[in-house]
Amino acid sequence: MRPLTPSRILSICGLLAAVLFAAVVISLRVGAYPIGMRDIVITLFNGAIGRGDTSEFNQVIFGLRLPRIALGILVGAALSTSGAGFQALLRNPLADPYVLGVSSGAALGAMLSLIIAPHTVGAIQLAAFVGAAATIAAVYFLGRRGGQLDSATLLLAGIIAASFLSAIIIFLLTLVNGPGLRSMTFWLMGDLTAPPPTQNVLGWFGFLYFVFIVAAGAMYTTSSDLNLILTGEQEAGHLGVNVTRVKLVVYVAASVLTGLAVSVSGTIGYVGLLVPHVMRMLFGTDYRLLIPTSAIGGAIVIVLADTLGRTIVAPTELPVGAMTALAGAPVFIYLMRRRIR
């Protein structure tokens, strides 16, 4: 394999970014409301120079399609980066963003908010993130052994936490009432249709992307060390890697990314598991390349899956989670078989 130089990282990421851009353009162009490419560009341009009006083009582009694309990119990137992180941390190819129970904690938080304050704007996102954070802390303290994060113990602690929280969710689902339940069903499937909880959409996405960049950036600083740790924790320690610190950073960063994604979109499956594997098959296992390619790759997958979901059975929409599972598995199997041959 060719050595991994910064220019190789940049050129591969540039290539993927171009694919993502194409996906965004396709997603902007297609939909139940017919808008031609020229009108899209005019609408975007007018919006950019502050001359936007209240036309339906504006409603569709700025009110519906762009926020959904922005959310899809964020969620896809966060889940895939998180998945790549957990797969290294737990040294387990089956690890995904939800394996340590973060999503179950978020789901429980979301559900409690739907029961306690069903009509409070933003409550579901906040409660989901609080639930995720509480789970992260609980699993961390359960998963330590001898003051260190031990992969096997952590995995067991996470799986126990996830199934315990899921049991509470099922218990609550059978007890509570009302339209909130319906929202919960979609939340558990993964769904990008919920509108931003604030009128300040710019600020909202600014905040979400800021959290993503901080967490993904923190994880990226450990990527060289992760490569060494994957060859063996003791060996990495002998080579001067602070294994405890690296694992803690990856654990917190990956958990925050998962919490971020599920808070705003519910539990979208498969992306966080499959995209890092696909990127490994395509570009190798070096985490310096794997983390950014997973982020962009995840964004591409979600944007395309959501575009498909809202067009193939139009005017009805399929939840994005269903699309990622439907389309993800065959692609993954194809890549896996090709690699074996």
Partner: protein, 383 residues
């Protein structure tokens, strides 16, 4: 409120647009030729099919309204284009004779059959918001009994008014019907329809008030067995039909254990179905052959009633379903009525032909679409 939306959407626009305009411009050079014809046809479509152009929207008079879920919105005084997000709302619009204003409905809307011909915006729970916007609605109608809160929130956010009704009783259904009529500028039709429906309910009540309540098991879903809670409009509708659900639950759709049903021994089992007559008998036979169910007193006596699936929709048609169920559950009270059709028939098509003669114009509309539905079903049977 409106100003606020505008100010924000400007900021929002800048944010997205500055990130994308440049790039899109580059890309557009490549696709412009390909999509030019497409764009032209869009323009043509926009000028010919949009009777209420958005540019004129700000000059139109609006009124401030708070819906039954507490959301505030401005609704044009002169609503010309309505999109409904649930079958019961579509039915209500037709019952009011306002289907001329119905710009679109859901893929679930099948009563009256004409509703199937309207443009669809998707399913009630997963509609395409874009498809809704594309129909240029002045008003979107939703209901808590099937729609998701997110749908209403998202539409309100982009400036499309969504009125959500939240009926838990027949009275709630009637007042929602009157409100919808008001919003569409048809208060008079609304008052007439509501009065006619109320009168039929009162007649029923007068006939049944001295009767003992029939204790029924209302089956929403058979496997697992799901019934209804006390706070649903179905529970209230049952009471108007002289029946009481044996299940006492605070949840709306409780999952019930078969043991409980055996213990409570309902007088009647009420199923809802769109099945054909032949299938109805098959269905009852199935219950006779199923363990536990076959041991129920009601099943042994053949006290299994098929109510029309109108029973699950809080719409004016629900009154038809109530009347028919009342006839099925209390045949002795209504046995003198000349209008009673053959029992099997009433078992099959609940509501058809059982009502008193229509009095008002809107009631005629109602009977008309019941008749249409009947014809439709007869032709289905023939096939």
């Amino acid at each position: 409120m409106r100003g606020n939306i505008l100010a924000v959407s400007k900021a929002k626009r800048r944010f997205f647009a500055s990130a994308l305009t440049l790039a899109c411009g580059v890309f557009a050079c490549g696709v412009r030729n390909a999509s030019a014809a497409d764009v032209r046809s869009q323009h043509d479509a926009a000028t010919t099919t949009n009777p209420a152009p958005q540019t004129a929207a700000n000059k139109r008079a609006v009124k401030q309204v708070t819906d039954e879920t507490g959301r505030h919105m401005a609704i044009p005084l002169n609503v010309q284009r309505v999109v409904t997000l649930a079958p019961n709302l579509t039915e209500t619009i037709y019952a009011l004779g306002l289907d001329g204003k119905l710009a679109g409905d859901t893929t679930y809307c099948d009563i009256p059959p004409a509703a199937k011909e309207k443009p669809h915006i998707g399913s009630p729970q997963e509609p395409s918001l874009e498809a809704i916007v594309a129909l240029h609605p002045d008003l979107v109608l939703a209901t808590t009994s099937i729609n998701r809160a997110e749908t209403a929130d998202a539409l309100l956010k982009i400036g499309v008014p969504v009125y959500t009704s939240d009926p838990h009783t027949m009275a709630g259904m009637l007042s929602a019907t009157a409100t919808i009529a008001d919003l569409l500028g048809a208060s008079e039709q609304g008052a007439k329809l509501v009065a006619a429906l109320q009168q039929r309910l009162d007649t029923l009540h007068a006939a049944l008030q001295d009767q003992p309540m029939a204790h029924v098991l209302f089956v929403v879903w058979e496997d697992p067995l799901i019934s209804i809670g006390q706070n649903t409009f179905i529970a209230d509708a049952l009471r108007w039909a002289g029946a009481e659900s044996i299940i006492v639950a605070s949840q709306n759709w409780p999952q019930v254990s078969m043991e409980e049903v055996v213990r409570l021994q309902p007088d009647y089992i009420v199923l809802t179905s769109d099945h054909l007559e032949a299938e109805t008998h098959e269905h009852v036979d199935n219950l006779r052959n199923r363990p536990t169910w076959s041991e129920l007193r009601a099943v042994k006596l053949g006290h299994v009633v098929m109510a029309s699936d109108e029973f699950t929709r809080p719409s004016p048609g629900l009154v038809d379903a109530i009347e028919s169920l009342a006839h099925d559950l209390h045949p002795e009270v209504f046995s003198t009525s000349a209008a009673l059709p053959a029992p099997n028939f009433s078992l099959r098509i609940v509501g058809a032909g059982l009502r008193p003669a229509p009095t008002a114009a809107n009631a005629r509309t109602l009977s008309q679409f019941v008749r249409e539905r009947l014809n439709n079903e007869v032709s289905t049977c023939a096939r």
